[in-house]
Symmetry: none
Subunit: 232 residues, 4 copies
């Protein structure tokens, strides 16, 4: 008689809940592999092995490698983001909301799969233009819209001056993307010693960024000194 550890066949997922969990764990395994190897170099077998399942089982949940990639973008990116960000803003005055947002961002960068998804999309998006388009409209544009609204709210509330909130929203996001990329690319967690010189102080950077933003937004632009802003 074998204990479950000794069997070489994994537990079956019988209930819908168990199947959903298995599906999700496969998606996260895929994310890790895609993140580390890239879509093309990632092996279906390795993805399955990460959750102690066989190749064949992976195909019970996803029709193909491409389908797996698509599901990853569609099912993980969106929920992760909306869950995390929407709650950041709430009812507070705009400056407080901006500060809260930036702190949430720090947490998301550290603890959610989103940064890895961003890296995967940058790396392999060209093979999936529909998905990239989906991601941009469903995820990124929402983020920019959210920030845009926040900036407008601050202007309306009399806290801030901002002539081009759409463009400024991009500048709000830029250091966040910078941090994400830097951590994903230059700070190897995996093997070998991460280059200590390469370590980015995430908190300090985003703190300084936040301070800069608050300063800029609080400053009344002199007429003519701002360029005529075109939006994105």
């Amino acid at each position: 008689m074998l204990t479950s550890d000794e069997q070489n066949t994994a537990q079956r997922a019988r209930t819908d809940l168990a199947k959903d969990q298995r599906r999700m764990s496969l998606l996260m395994a895929a994310l890790d592999e895609f993140f580390e190897k890239g879509f093309s170099a990632a092996r279906m077998q390795d993805i399955a092995k990460r959750v102690h399942l066989s190749k064949g089982t992976l195909y019970l949940y996803f029709d193909s490698k491409q389908a797996l990639f698509k599901a990853l973008i569609e099912e993980v990116a969106l929920p992760t983001l909306t869950t995390t960000l929407q709650q950041s803003i709430g009812d507070q005055p705009a400056p407080a909301a901006l500060k809260a947002l930036m702190q949430n961002v720090t947490r998301v960068i550290r603890h959610s799969p989103l940064p890895r998804i961003v890296k995967v999309i940058i790396a392999d998006g060209k093979a999936f233009p529909d998905l990239v388009s989906f991601y941009r409209t469903q995820v990124l544009d929402r983020v920019f819209t959210l920030i845009d609204s926040l900036l407008q709210k601050g202007v309306q509330q009399g806290h801030w001056y901002c002539l081009d909130t759409a463009l400024s929203a991009r500048l709000v996001v830029a250091p966040i993307l910078f941090s994400v990329i830097w951590r994903m690319v230059f700070e190897a967690d995996e093997y070998g010693l991460p280059d200590q010189q390469a370590k980015l102080d995430l908190d300090a950077l985003l703190q300084l960024h936040t301070n800069n933003l608050l300063l800029i937004l609080a400053t009344k632009p002199e007429l003519g000194s701002q360029p005529e802003a075109h939006h994105v």
Copy 2:
């Protein structure tokens, strides 16, 4: 009957100069393929075909696909950068130098291969940790050091206030990286019409960024309002 143009054997690169040019054209072809498909999905044959050569010929110039990638990073990234940036600063006062730098950056983003190289490194760097390390120390750190020096110079010259020039250098660069990534990932030039909505107004963004920077740097920080900055 074939005219000489219709032969199926390419002109031979006989002189050292011709060979260097051929090598360089292969590197640029590789960059394009790596950029569009990723290292793993790019096919050696397609790289060769881009310059109307056979795969066999490609192997006369590079021992392997990996060697091709390495040569790309080592031989293209570094010269492109140093050539382009070092000239930007010159002898001008710091604020003028910063403006000049940002304008040069716009040109580099539009016309040099560097943005594509950045995308390639983000996408495929994990397979070449040595190269990533090389790139960070030889290219990126130089850029940061250059900007850091500029900021310090501005402070010494009495134009600016800046408590943490190293960290601020990152914030100078962040919107540049943002623009690069945005253009590389979300503005497909290749097939079909790029999503017009996705177009980023590069000039406006960097212009606004520059103005913001100049404003921040010109502002004397109130004591205690800045976080203790840790650098990168």
Copy 3:
């Protein structure tokens, strides 16, 4: 409509036993291909096809062509030999044992894969010096030692005279190797009509050889007529 025999997917080897058998059949197929074409010219696909498998399946059993070659030498040469020869000698008096041995040799030459392995090692050994060394020490030296012991035993038992049993062991083996090479190289069984002129009468040759040996060994050497023997 296909009957089960006409499927294009082979039976699966599910049990360990079935896998061992499949592995062995692949080894024998490899031996045949290596024997006929040489290591370098043999094609993995042809080896697989000999046992009605695809090349992909071959790689389930052996990591590479080199690994296949190594397994062939290590797993087939040694067992074949020890199984066949050790039983030849037994407890009989030395002359009877020598006769028995030579008769077994005839059978081995005719019916075991050993002659083909010998040819393969001669042909391709230079690419695998470790294996050649292994083969010499594990197979050949054992054979020589066995014969050496037999000769010594004959001397001790008073049947024979032999001043240099080690060297004589080589002379015992020489006509065997000659026969093997001759059959492997000059008597093509495969295609086309073997040159009837080239046929070697294996039994007669080894019978004559045995008689010669018995005569020589039974003859007391005159002093000084033997060279000072150096052994191998």
Copy 4:
């Protein structure tokens, strides 16, 4: 002005003599490569490089790799042999002739290309059945016939008894082939130290073999103890 050493183009072979020499040096280079790598794994470029010529030049002398192999067997094997052996026998009495022959054999094994040719034929002959057939009839059969004649002469002269001179000729040759194979396969000259244990004392072996032969041939066979010999 370049001295001849510094040119990167070899001296032209203008005279027929020079061309013949160049052709011969290419053949010997091919022999060395075929011997070490086997026909299939040998590279035309390496053969040319051995004599400091380019691939292209090699093709001026031989139409193809196969043609090179054929020329090697046809042009080198035959002359080498006939030159060396025919002179061994001369007019002496049979026993003296046999001794002389065996001493010549030692020299041939050590200093002529013949042993390497033998190895090459064993290794790659299967791909060139015509050549093997040619080699057997033109080279080997001549050798056997020569020895056969010698044995018959010894019998006629009253020195020897030999019921089956054809078969015995094979036994005369067997230890020679053994020595050749042993040296070619188990005594690596190339890299690293050859296994000292593997060294065969060629002189001693052939000396002992000669003594044995003389003994056997001098012994009158008892009636019925010899098998009815079939010849080859």
